[in-house]
Assembly symmetry: D2
Homo-oligomer: 363 residues x 4
């Protein structure tokens, strides 16, 4: 079950960048969740390339439900979401280039699929596939919000330019909801955008870090072995193209602290238990402790760049030079943050459904 | 299937720190793998606490096979490994302390298991449980080595003291195999040990980073969705107590590079494809590219410390002060590295078995 | 992962009888399998209602690949097959009838999905959904045939009229391949058809038994716990609407034999091991023994009948009388046999892929 | 995950007939279920051979909890149950017989495990392994009873001698609970026992049918695809050695009815929905309808018999004659019925836990 993820609520993803359609099957969602099409479109628009800092490929992302939705509500049976590919320039890909883009999946796909891969536009490895995840997230995120669970991400950094961290998490998430370039300190937007445009002008690309918060999860969700909240989230997040690292709470920085500094002291106020700090990112022993879940995801610079690169022709295995034509993103971090939200929603909805029962999300 | 991990080769873990025994069931291992008891004992000894930088609890880790091994070979049926708990001081735990150790799982376990948790010595959350993983790894690691796949980890850092990175990976792994304090630059051992002892003297603890390498994996292993090699490894690694982050290849640092710098150029030499750099950590699009797989795991400082800490009594939810008595590790990084090797072996053996068939590991 | 089945090759099914489309995602099929559209259409036509012994609903079953197929070959990534619903009479279902058809899933669906079910035409419970299974089978069955594994089913009985059993299994399967009413003893067709028509004339329905054979599977496939070949096949087969029983080899009749009669003696001929009888249906201890796998599936009479029936209104829970209008099948056995073949192909392809590796089916 | 079954509550089984121990890991059971050791022992005793109609091997079945139980209650973490093998006559098996018992798993195991199988006493294929299932059932069955869900089986037939069917299911289950030879019509016991003894005297064996009832399950449990209640139960039940068929409700006999006869009319009495008949065995569309779940399992005659049989030597593939020495059961039906109860309890507890949440069974 390679392309399927989740236990109680699960998602099966399919599609290639230049095939008929991309899509997914979202299963295990209980009957009776109202579909908010506006919200789905909003989320899709936040993932969609726009402006000069994204690829010039423009897809309307006109999703449709093939199943599982009736009279505006989920039916409890699997929801197939289909998003046709429209802005595909087939002539750009009339034949396989055979030139492996460095650090892209061209080569590994060719080895794995033995030459039968749909190589057009990155095929099944294209970031385009994440649109299906976002459409599914558009069902789960509002349903979680009705349960007072809120998920949001911001661009923590582009290159060396950093945004501030979450402070008032609930308010910060609200603020980020509609931003097409999601930063908490809005003054950073220009600086970051300039960095992206400079890379673009050089035929190059930049990466960055996305920071994600989940607030409102009760204590006691997750498992010690093997389905820790960190393990489940990381498993899902690493599927997003270009991710190379993930850290929770203080993350790698915690390794430079002493225990007395790193430990999050508990305190009780009118019977409610909280922690004074949140170096654990809301998770102890794999299980939520009631504090906000905080994690950061490292995105590498887009591997497809215009600059000339040394590489190989993977059909004849000879050395070659690549000058990539076509449409690329000089940076995908600002688009990817919404994808992180959506896979996080899948993990959170799944874990809570396991805890509270199959219909929980709809009740 | 919470405590079970893996698709073709899977591991089910069980046990509590002060229960009868800890252990695991390793399933899907093909018939005909010779059991190397010496190697299993060697690996167990590398995980076992020793010297002044570890807890004073001493367990012999006398494992036994309850099933799945016959005449010195695996039978192809599930292998139950049992390791009795012996050095348990029951009187230390005659009653629940009710005082939550900050950043430990005491509180989250109490919430999740509603007061029925085996609280003695951390119960199912204890690092002791990892001994079972190591015993299982003692079957898989030598079997992988016969397939020319080698796995090894070193202590990349303790606090701010860093070891050098992998250079000649194959030789480095060999060097690390028998080291009880695994550093590549042996001069760092004293510095790191001093750091640990200083923390111990202060009733405190330190954390660090473990760097792991897998060499010898062919290109083409892994899946784009959702079972990327990164996703599978991270899912397993986050189960190891105290892990707060994981990064592959250049990891978080790659977010500060441009694409032209980050991309690993391919080149071909007598038909063999390699990369000039390895910022990808051997993985493109979730799939191995034939280069060494490299990742780093962040371990927080041991949360159990002797220093006084503010916390709560989780039974009456009142604020409390904790002065932890008992035996603790001032650092677990040097012990944990062998556990990282073992869960990595599980993921790698599982993925390759899926690719090459059920008996591959034994042929 | 409710609507997903299979480990290495898996199928996710979706769709409702009167929704946009039905379909499935077939995952884990290796790259490089040639798509035989003619064969898929052939199989779909064998499942499709036709003539006077089936419902008058006529669907063209115009399937399309949304993903996973490129240049006429599988790509190795998930294959989404979509079959639009066209011949739906929406006006027939403008409002929920609220009258539970006895022994149909109307009532259980209403309870499970709390009133949000797509009730039109049986929704997700409709036999129509099996068309998607058949399309998927149209990829797997010819691929298995290239491996010399042949699957075929015949109508063992309709009511009390029985066909002969398999004799020369390989030849029998070939004979059945193109038959729209698949009986081995063709003289039984008229008798069976008359039985169906008589029931139809009475506004009633009949059931029957489908007998399935798989020939060409090597010995050694399957697991003792829990994934016996019998267990896997039965798990899949019970998903087909109207199935109430399954038996392997001599099945229930074996309970009336003594061991000396029931046991299948092995014998060896020029080194090849066979059995003199096949009361085991080709499976010992859950594992194939090299003989033909033989099993029978019991299909109940179609629950939707024209005759007046006592039942309840499941909205107000009052007693009611049902006179079902609309289009129904007086018998589905002759159509269902092809669905049994297809789910069997899924189980067999999955098990062999686990044994021989991910690319086996394409090599 | 071959030897693991279940989604929310899962069981991993291990052990060989003459190894150190057999056992299982029961995972997903919520914290706080009181362990009733007497009940576990009772169930184990009902499965244990006794009297002249069973094998003379006598095992005390002294199970112990290695984990997951603390202070008499489940802890919520995996429960490892270990049952040592004691009455093993190693000398009987000092070397592999190489003679395949017809219709036993000797041959298929030898092929599958390539000669490394633990052949002693049937190894992992031995019915002895089911003792571990029964111990696990001893936790689940009383927990389900507290939820007013009762499971019980009787010997429906031995050879051609039949017991009456369930009538007042709840009372019948109670009656069967303590019977070592479980028949509803006690007059049949002598007749059945005589049949068994006659076969024994002839060095032969007999089979039979077990009929199982589950009462108290609410309507709405199960899935249409693929996890129908029938599919899940059959998947589990076929793991029990010697099972060759399963049927629900009227089963195969329903194929000879017309729809108007087979359909179970619903009726409502003071708001409670029931069915007038139960030909569906309590399941419509894979989902419970609130009626008793009824199914029958066909057990073949024990394949190990004393009578001389033609077979092969599976090492040199030459024809051979087998005269089986050793201890065997002339019939296992009366012992197996308790195993059917226990795997049914696993499926039912798992499905209801998925529906109602992780802690449901303990609340």
């Amino acid at each position: 079950m390679k392309n399927t993820f989740g236990n109680n609520i699960s998602l099966t993803i399919f599609g290639e960048s230049h095939g008929n359609a991309i899509g997914c099957v979202l299963d295990g969602v209980p009957a009776g969740i109202k579909i908010d099409e506006e919200r789905i479109n909003k989320l899709l628009s936040l993932r969609r390339p726009s402006g000069s800092i994204s690829t010039s490929r423009r897809e309307a992302d006109e999703y449709s439900f093939q199943s599982g939705v009736f009279n505006g509500f989920t039916t409890g049976t699997p929801i197939c979401i289909l998003i046709p590919n429209k802005d595909t320039r087939s002539k750009d890909y009339s034949e396989m280039s055979c030139i492996a883009r460095p650090s892209h999946a061209d080569y590994t796909a060719h080895i794995k699929y033995r030459g039968f891969e749909d190589y057009r536009g990155g095929g099944h490895f294209s970031g385009r596939i994440t649109a299906a995840l976002v459409a599914a997230g558009g069902i789960l995120i509002p349903a979680l919000e009705k349960k007072n669970i809120f998920i949001g991400s911001h661009i923590k950094s582009i290159g060396k330019v950093s945004d501030r961290s979450f402070e008032n998490v609930r308010a910060d998430i609200e603020k980020l909801a509609d931003m097409s370039f999601a930063v908490l300190d809005e003054e950073k937007q220009t600086e970051m955008t300039n960095l992206i445009l400079a890379a673009k002008n050089d035929g190059d690309s930049v990466g960055g870090v996305v920071e994600t918060a989940v607030c409102g999860i009760e204590a006691g969700v997750g498992e010690p072995w093997f389905d820790t909240l960190e393990g489940l989230i990381s498993h899902a997040v690493f599927s997003i193209p270009a991710v190379k690292g993930i850290e929770f709470g203080a993350g790698f920085a915690i390794t430079e602290m002493r225990g007395s500094e790193a430990n999050d002291s508990f305190y009780s106020e009118t019977g409610r238990v909280s922690t004074e700090t949140n170096n654990s990112g809301g998770i102890n022993g794999g299980i939520s402790n009631g504090a906000d879940i905080i994690f950061r995801t490292a995105f590498k610079p887009t591997p497809t760049i215009a600059k000339e690169q040394k590489t190989i022709n993977y059909v004849n295995n000879e050395n070659a030079i690549l000058s990539a034509a076509g449409r690329h993103d000089p940076c995908i971090v600002h688009r990817a943050r919404i994808v992180v939200d959506c896979v996080t929603a899948l993990v959170v909805a799944d874990a809570l459904t396991g805890k509270h029962g199959a219909d929980w999300l709809a009740l």
